[in-house]
Symmetry: C2
Subunit: 211 residues, 2 copies
């Protein structure tokens, strides 16, 4: 059974930026600070290492009742019994991903245009990651999404939307009145010297949207 | 339904060594020359590229009635509806792989010792790739398997066994009297100037074992 997801503050991991000694510690600190969802992204790990990392991180997210999403690798998501998978435009096609993971797991899809967003919805996505909103050092090959395109996507589609790519305390307030469902953050949390504090501060920015 | 597999001459692809213009052409030439099984191995491709390559190569192998096995990536094997997956000791654990692909697909496992081989059999492997039999340029991090260890594995286990790692026309004859089920070949076929001829010559070496 797919549970209701709180997309408010979505941590996306990046081992290279990480200020904590290991990923489990980094994730635990981020979740303690207020992250509501975690995506494990491993771009260089072999399959065994990725799988074992996913199992360890899931023990942490499970203990806090926060869903774990695996980036790209459906096989790792299935093997570790993660809550879902997040795919980009260079990963498996979204309709194939949906067929393989079934209806019980969360499918997130990256999109940078309304066309990609509509296609993802038709393929069965549960949420969209719209971006990159700003040029970012974490994903240099990412297509950029403009603020206008984000507004068009939000007006056209009712699916949950998180923004990603250069989201930090300085940039987040620009999304205040667009009606998004959450902020996806990489370096501003995982790369912060104090991950828990950075997570708490980002969470306060988000909570401020609702006042 | 899992079909009876002919392991006689098992092509493992390597894009970097390839003498043909594209993988489909290389695979077609190898199969025409006598390869009975094909493993698609892509160590640098992104998921979309790997998936699309697998679909194209499967169209070729299907047209010749030869099974296609995907290296490492279970999600690609499932997405492309390949005939099976081949995993190494650094990939997903074999028992997890078996659970995810079900009983209808072929599971191959690399092993370099009797201990690894026994574990793979218990986990539900359909065949073993034993090696690397010789130090090889295609997989520099591979553990080496000795001829004595290969003989021990063959005596202990009834599962189909192919040898891999440095198998070519010069080295293949040393396996004549060990009772293996096939030769797995990378560079000696895919890297040959004439892939079809190289495949035919390796096939003649193998067929010579039976006389």
């Amino acid at each position: 059974m797919k549970r209701e997801i709180d997309y408010s503050l979505y941590l996306v991991t990046d081992r290279d930026l990480m200020s904590a000694p290991d990923l489990e510690t980094a994730v635990e600190r981020a979740v303690k600070g207020g992250c509501t969802l975690v995506q494990l992204r491993e771009k260089t790990a072999g399959s065994r290492e990725f799988f074992e990392t996913a199992v360890r991180v899931k023990a942490v997210t499970d203990s806090y009742g926060v869903p774990l999403i695996i980036n790209d690798r459906l096989d790792i998501a299935l093997a570790a019994d993660a809550d879902g998978v997040h795919i980009g435009q260079d990963d498996l096609p979204a309709d194939v991903a949906r067929r393989l993971i079934g209806s019980g797991k969360i499918l997130g899809v990256s999109a940078s245009s309304l066309g990609e967003a509509e296609e993802a919805v038709c393929a069965g996505a549960d949420y969209l990651g719209i971006g990159a909103m700003f040029a970012t050092g974490t994903k240099t090959d990412a297509d950029l999404a403009t603020m206008d395109e984000l507004r068009r996507i939000r007006r056209a589609l009712s699916i949950p939307i998180v923004v990603i790519g250069g989201i930090n305390q300085a940039t987040a307030p620009s999304f205040r009145d667009i009606g998004i469902d959450g902020l996806a953050v990489v370096s501003a949390i995982i790369g912060a010297p104090d991950i828990e504090a950075a997570s708490r501060e980002m969470r306060e920015v988000w909570d401020g949207f609702k006042r």
